[in-house]
Amino acid sequence: MKLFLLLLATTAFAADPVAVRLIPSTFELHRAGATQQLLLIAEYPDGSTQDLTDSAQWTPNAPAGQVTAATPGPIQVSATYGNLNATAAGRIETAAGPAEFRFRSAIGSIFTKRGCNSPACHGGVKGRGGLKLSAASLFPQDDYEWIVKGGEFQVLSAESKTARTPRINLQNPVESLLLRKATGATPHGGGKRFAVDSPEYQTITNWIQKGAPFGPPEDDTSRVTALEVYPKILALEKDQKHRLLVTAIMANGRREDVTAQALYLASDRQIATVAESGLVTPAALGETSILIRAAGQAAAVIVGVIGDPIANYPVVPKNNFIDEHISGKLRRLRILPAALSSDVEFLRRVCLDLTGTLPPPARVTEFVRSTDPKKRERVIDALIATPEFTDYWTFRFQDLFRVALFSNGINAKWSQMYGEWIRESIAKNKPYDRMAWERLSAQGYDGPTRHFLPYDVIGSPEETMAEEVRVFFGRRLECAQCHNHPYETWSQDQFWGLAAFFGRMFKMGDTGNEYVIFDHPLNEGMGNSEVNGKIQTLHPRTKAALTPTLLDGRVVPPSDKENPRKALADWMVQHPHFAEAAVNRVWAEFFGRGLVDPVDDFRSTNPATHPELLARLAAEFRRNGHDLRALMRLIVTSRTYQLSAETNPTNRADRVNYSHALPRPLLAEVLLDAIGQVTGVAERFTTTVTANGKVTQQTPAGTRAIQLREPDLFHSRFLDLYGRPNRLALPERSGKANLGQALNMLAGPIYNEKLAASEGRLQKLLASKATDEAILNDLYLTALGRTPDAAERQQILTALSAQPNRNEAWKDLFWAVLCSREFAENH
């Protein structure tokens, strides 16, 4: 199959488009002078597309596809390329006259387009040179005041640092500091942003001459809620160019073309560049993204600069919709997927991913011999039903939910309570939204309440909220704690509004053994007056008392009779972010990276590699009642998951498109368990060691590393070396090799003592007088889930026969296998 696919990869061939279409096919222009960018997209026989906007003949005349509102009424726009033609139906309504002046759209958009409000300039955390502008003009009222009233921005106060001096001059507009700086007439750290004769200069001058109005406040007709970009994923050949089409979605649902007002930034200009107009030009093979900012919003486009066409691109079998999305993009990017994994490759991978356990040799043999066409699905179902599945996913969620001694009140009983709640949830396949809801709203003394006791205290509202958002929404709001997020649309007010849901959390108790978690009533003192205490969360900048407010602006009125976090939990688990963050996190467990990666860093500047797949997975997850097992089954039954790790020339460099399996280092706990499995010597973990070295607490024999609850209670140098997190913060395992690991392999007790142990597998095999070939087979099947191939067998047996000491030779070979990447990685 692999060879067959490779044969299909040929060099570029010329072809004519088979169809053309206009994007958008319908449009509306609501004011005189409004414009609409149209793109003429050609489709080719191999399914690829190309932007022909600049090569088409437009009727009526629309230079570079841009239509300008003039005469009211319907309009038909036609574009012709060769003998192909496409039309778009438009409607122009100019009864309202020219667009009503609004500061954001008229002036703020200039700041955006010219990069003035970018994070590197005045849109940064503290602004620049005393002037603070909101990112992409997200907060136009603030921007207006800093310009018209003047003043110097302060992070921790709403007051100006200096006396306010306007940055505009109403008497003599051209002498306005705003214009002089932007044109370079006055020294400006950001350099010249536009010329004196530019339209931007004229627009700002006119605005000042008219008294520098703000215009009517933002309403549903003007407030932009999202940006939509066409295309979301762009595959470009080396000699092609493609325009981007950016549409603002207003609060009232109306769509408005903002292609001309948007700011475009290419992440990697060595791969592709983008012009002010949104025209993308490829530079070199590879994949990058383009960030687009306009009207306070941001969006991104994935750009793949692709190689030569592949003739007769094969029809790749699809097991489910995951494969449709993955294959579709691979085809567009002209990448051939790897072949389907072999049975042994698949079995080892799926066992480790679903259960953290190596397949037993007998099962490997049985699976390989089976001719059942459904054997992969059957083994997946069998694995999901195993106790090992429960153990492994309890471990994974205990990592994520931070079960640890110091994270859960510094009381081992509490970390056990919390861990048991997770275990029961996994064992009973509790819907994930329910798990999240229970934790978010936990009150009283049950398992999930112990999450809120890091270091024996109630965590601060801002830290607690940021963690919940990161875990359940996959987003990092922390930046907005001190200032409006410089890259995203999160404001400091939003951050603190959300933090206020956790602002009344209290623990009742004093001794460290009896904390009951509750939400303090607002209107009852409960002794507060006796220490001059108030129950309120204050905005750090404005010092205003905060009311719990959801990210969508909905205020949840505080009540003494309601747990405020219930409303938050209700909202969070139903929010689209929740399901997409959950599926992305689970996806990453099986592929080593998320569709958005890192998994808890969803942002407009870090787009998903497969946004439509992510959306579909999230929808499916919701439809299945947030069933984690069903989600995992869906993923591992996909052909994408089951692709081989062996690459072909087209996909060798691919790390993000799932064209082949990526080897992933085993998690520290899984690796240690696997070593125990292969050597036949299980690890014993200790907790308390007295001063005289006497062990007083030890896990029962057979306890696996993945079954340990508290990483900060059970000592293991090996686990620490291989990246076991202490769970005092959200775990981030790097999986990177280090010198300590290398030394541990050479001289550490885990490898060497287990191999020498008389009760171990090797010594038993040697004592049983098994032949070298039998021992070799057993070692390979146990450790690698396969038998050695003929060359390996011959080389190893020859080498063994040359060794004077059979025992030592076998120990060396076992050691070599355990230290090999093939063993220490899932592939």
Binding site: P359, K413, G509, E514, E524, E562, R684, A701
Partner: protein, 540 residues
């Protein structure tokens, strides 16, 4: 300095010199096997420290005969014979040696057949299995044949508070793709609820869904094990009633516990502990709490009700004609902390909180508030109308057994809890020993309190003394701590053994008696406690 004070000072000085002369006392830790059956004779091993020279036992349990067979520094072997008439339940055992008498350890007489642990022992209810997790990480595993629908109760009881057992029920895992002969966890129990005052014994109930062979496993919490990790496992048919998640009220006086009973004679008890035996106040009126808050309380009164639903708030009106030092006491007769955490607040007619059972303070660096819930608070109320409010601390929890009883009464000065830490006294010849008590003075109780021993052996004298006081700096940011704590007072007695006093062959049981003195008269004792005492040789 008076002559008496001078003598006390001299004795304290000599006591200070003599104290090191007392050799380390023998201490018992745990017993294995932990349970015995009437009509049997068996050997048990008792672990502890400084046991080597023990020579006899002190056991005062009818129908129990015990003989010390051997002793080593950390272990002694005892033969126990139980008459058929012996009563079931917890028994105590002490041992005696030249260094004195030991503390008491508990063991049990049970009705069920008894087996000693062995791997995969077949359990047939009713049965008691005596077990020992001798090594850290050890797990004792037993076998259980069960029919479909059969119900079981398993209880693991430990011999020592330091050992916390865990019970796990395992079932075959034929579906385990990895190891079809393996066993998987079916049910698990550590303790019903981990909370101070509640038992840490494990209790697991299960109704078997499928006939077959199961396994029952006993382990120590977090892999605990060692020579003192002795336990018994009780297997019963059927689902035994769930024990209340309710701590047992201490037998001694503890007026600041949610589980003491505010019974009809409570006020009389308070007066008695204040030295006033004549006052027999009538029981306070009982007033039902309700959400409408129409009930009227006239002090003294008990407001009682059930917070049956989440966020339910009960209220009542309180009218006072004259200023009154109030004591507010709360009892939770059914569910209690941490499930039911009653918050009681008193609001004046403007809605201002004037009292609550929540003590709020700031932490030591003053950065954040800390809150503690109390079963009693005292405060002054001026004449007027008030609202008394009762609710659970969380808004998410309410249940029919969230039953509260709130007593509002005038303060009654009285002697509160008396802490006396020693459960035995080993005194060295020629040496003295200071025994320090702590007395809680409740509700501005100011009368004298006397404590003395009666029945001391010849040669032992008791004198008033003064121990080195523990100096605690005043707590900053402590809030109105005086409303939530009594005034503690320490006082000491000094026991001195004269030179030439004969060594004890067996313990004496002098009685410690504490009583208030009211208007120059001794009132009835508020504490009477016999304490085993032995006179031992001083260590050179």
């Amino acid at each position: 300095m008076s002559r008496l004070a001078g003598r006390v000072a001299i004795i304290l000085w000599t006591a200070a010199l003599a104290t090191p002369a007392l050799a380390p006392e023998p201490n018992l830790q745990s017993v294995h096997p932990l349970a015995g059956r009437p009509g049997t004779t068996y050997q048990l091993t008792v672990t502890g420290t400084t046991l080597a020279s023990l020579h006899s036992l002190a056991i005062d349990e009818p129908g129990v005969h015990a003989r010390l067979l051997s002793a080593t520094p950390d272990k002694m072997t005892v033969e126990i014979s139980l008459d058929t008439s012996v009563t079931y339940g917890e028994k105590k055992l002490r041992a005696i040696g030249p260094q004195g008498i030991t503390n008491a350890v508990s063991w049990h007489v049970v009705a069920e057949p008894i087996a000693l642990e062995k791997p995969y022992l077949l359990l047939k209810a009713p049965l008691i299995v005596n077990g020992l997790l001798a090594e850290p990480g050890e797990a004792d595993t037993f076998t259980l044949d069960a029919k479909q629908g059969q119900a079981f109760t398993f209880e693991a009881v430990s011999a020592s508070p330091a050992f916390d057992p865990v019970v796990t029920l395992l079932e075959p895992a034929p579906e385990s793709w990895f190891s079809p002969k393996s066993w998987k966890r079916l049910a698990f129990h550590d303790e019903d609820l981990f909370f101070p005052g509640l038992s840490t014994q494990a209790r697991l109930t299960h109704i078997v869904q499928q006939a077959g062979q199961y396994r029952v496993q006993v382990t120590g919490f977090s892999g605990h094990g060692g020579p003192a990790a002795s336990y018994y496992l009780r297997i019963r048919d059927g689902i035994a009633p769930l024990p209340l998640r309710h701590p047992v009220a201490r037998p001694d006086w503890n007026p600041r516990s949610f589980v003491r009973q505010l019974g009809p004679d409570w006020l009389a008890q308070l007066h008695r502990r204040g030295g006033d035996e004549k006052t027999q106040p009538p029981p306070p009126a009982r007033v039902p709490g309700s959400e409408d808050g129409t009930a009227i309380l006239l002090v003294p009164a008990i407001l009682e009700g059930r917070i049956a639903k989440p966020a339910q708030v009960h209220k009542a009106k309180l009218h006072l004609e004259q200023s009154l030092q109030i004591a507010l006491e709360i009892e939770t007769p059914e569910a209690t902390l941490p499930e039911f955490n009653p918050i009681v607040s008193v609001f004046d007619s403007t809605g201002r909180e004037v009292a609550t059972n929540v003590h709020t303070k700031r932490n030591n660096n003053g950065l954040y508030m800390m809150k503690m819930i109390h079963a009693k608070t005292t405060f002054l109320l001026t004449p007027g109308d008030y609202t008394v409010q009762v609710r659970n601390i969380t808004t998410d929890h309410g249940r029919s057994d969230f039953f509260y009883r709130v007593l509002l009464r005038a303060q009654v000065p009285h002697a509160g809890r008396i802490d006396f830490p020693d459960d035995r006294l080993n005194l060295a010849i020629g040496a003295a020993r200071v025994i320090t008590f702590q007395l809680d003075r409740e509700e501005d109780f100011r009368d004298p309190v006397v404590a003395t021993f009666t029945g001391l052996p010849p040669g032992v004298t008791v004198l008033p003394g003064a121990d080195n006081p523990i100096e605690r700096p005043p707590l900053p940011n402590a809030g109105r701590i005086e409303r939530y704590t009594p005034k503690p007072q320490s006082f000491s007695l000094l026991l001195h053994v004269a030179e030439g006093t004969p060594l004890s062959a067996s313990p004496a049981y002098p009685k410690l008696t504490v009583r208030p003195v009211r208007k120059g008269h001794f009132a009835a004792p508020i504490l009477e406690k016999p304490i085993p005492l032995m006179i031992v040789a001083a260590t050179p």
